[in-house]
Amino acid sequence: MPQPGDSDTRSAVDILIASDRVPANARPDLLTEDDIWALLDEVKDPEVPAVSVVELGIVRAVHWDGRDLSIDVTPTYSGCPATELIEELIAEALRAAGFRDPNINQVLTPAWTTDWITDEGKEKLRVFGIAPPQGSSSKLSLLGEPEVIACPHCGSQETERVSEFGATACKALYRCRECLEPFDYFKCI
């Protein structure tokens, strides 16, 4: 039985295959709210597996009274196709820890912002090769110029935007003029 805090090295597919296997001897009633946060911190974003759903700010709240568990999650973008999968991955991780019937609520308010990505999450994005969002979403202007983005590979600020839209809704496409590598930028919203 996985213990809270154990590093979960299984892939998303493994977790899906392991569904409906609630360990018979699990004692979720012994877990604290902090344990549950630690557990959720092991659930990775399926599109950006370098960071967890907690680090991305997708998990908004944990309500745990020792008997009933409910988790508030918020989608990054209105049409993010990973939303359902993320909810499913969270439910699977909780079931694997012995929670039989975790309740996952989707909340839209307040709207998700890149400001909620933790500093640790931002650093993990950079190491993964994705430039983390820069600055605060509140400073974005409607018709403003694109910000200066540092290359996640060589650190140069001599970069240029190739496209405001990248492989997923949350990313833009950039290129470094120093090391010539293309890279993704996690857009600030």
Binding site: Y77, S78, G79, T109, W112, T113, L142, L143, A169, I189
Partner: protein
């Protein structure tokens, strides 16, 4: 009309406009003029379809007749659709695609900005989220209108043609009907006069920078989308979009 009836109607308009424009943009999947443009178009389409679902879900709860978001999207016929006529117009060349997007985005941006402060919390929450997305949609489409309008001789000619072709559908964006008035009065939707002034102000500014001439203010305007009277294009869009649900109702395994 009661306020609740007006809200149901208004939510369907928001949802249907998002849904139909999203579907239109998806027609370009696999055949956009450049790879980056394709990603951008599909990203915008994805945002719009996601927003449509949020609006449909709320509408379904209020309508409360057993239909869910999917049934509202896939089981209503053209005369029940409440989208703006602008959103159902064909893609044509890229000037028309981006011109349509710009006229819509400008309307969408100011509408959502107002809805984000709605007295109805659910509406405000969905709109606040959608507004972040509509902001970069508008940034992108206005950049394209300027680039094409103030570009080469040919791109200018095509962009001006696009403005001329689409102008007749802009009146519907800024002409309120009873529903719009009721929704504004309820403190939910935008004040129609303000929306009109904001839209016209931005459109004039961008078209001027793009060296383009807007249509006449007293031009004949096609309206009726909000009441289910559509151009001939909508039926074809729905025929394709709804095929699977019509052929295999309630199919759950693909």
């Amino acid at each position: 009309m009661t306020q609740t009836e007006a809200l149901k109607e208004y939510l369907l308009r928001l949802a249907d406009s998002d849904m139909i424009l999203g579907q239109r943009l998806c027609e370009l999947c696999g055949k956009a003029p450049a790879l980056e443009e394709e990603m951008a178009l599909m990203n915008v389409a994805l945002d719009l379809v996601g927003q449509a679902r949020n609006w449909y879900e709320y509408a379904a709860e209020l309508i409360d007749d057993g239909r869910d978001a999917d049934k509202l999207a896939y089981r209503r016929d053209a005369h029940d659709y409440r989208n703006l006529l602008m959103t159902e117009q064909p893609n044509e060349d890229y000037a028309v695609t981006m011109g349509r997007q710009f006229f819509f985005d400008a309307w969408h941006y100011f509408t959502l900005k107002s809805l984000a402060g709605a007295s109805d919390e659910r509406v405000a929450g969905i709109a606040a989220k959608a507004l972040k997305e509509a902001t970069y949609h508008l940034r992108r489409s206005s950049e394209w209108v300027k680039r094409l309008g103030d570009g080469t001789e040919e791109s200018h000619r095509r962009m001006q043609d696009a403005v001329d072709i689409l102008w007749r559908f802009t009146g519907e964006l800024i002409t309120p009907d009873e529903t719009d008035q009721l929704i504004a009065k309820a403190g939910i939707g935008p004040d129609p006069e303000q929306l009109k002034a904001d839209w016209q102000g931005l459109v004039t500014e961008v078209l001027t920078q793009a060296t383009l001439t807007p249509g006449a203010e007293d031009a004949w305007m096609y309206m009726g989308g909000k009441h289910g009277e559509h151009t001939e294009h909508l039926g074809f869009i729905l025929a394709e979009m709804q095929f699977l649900q019509r052929a295999y109702p309630d199919a759950t395994t693909w």
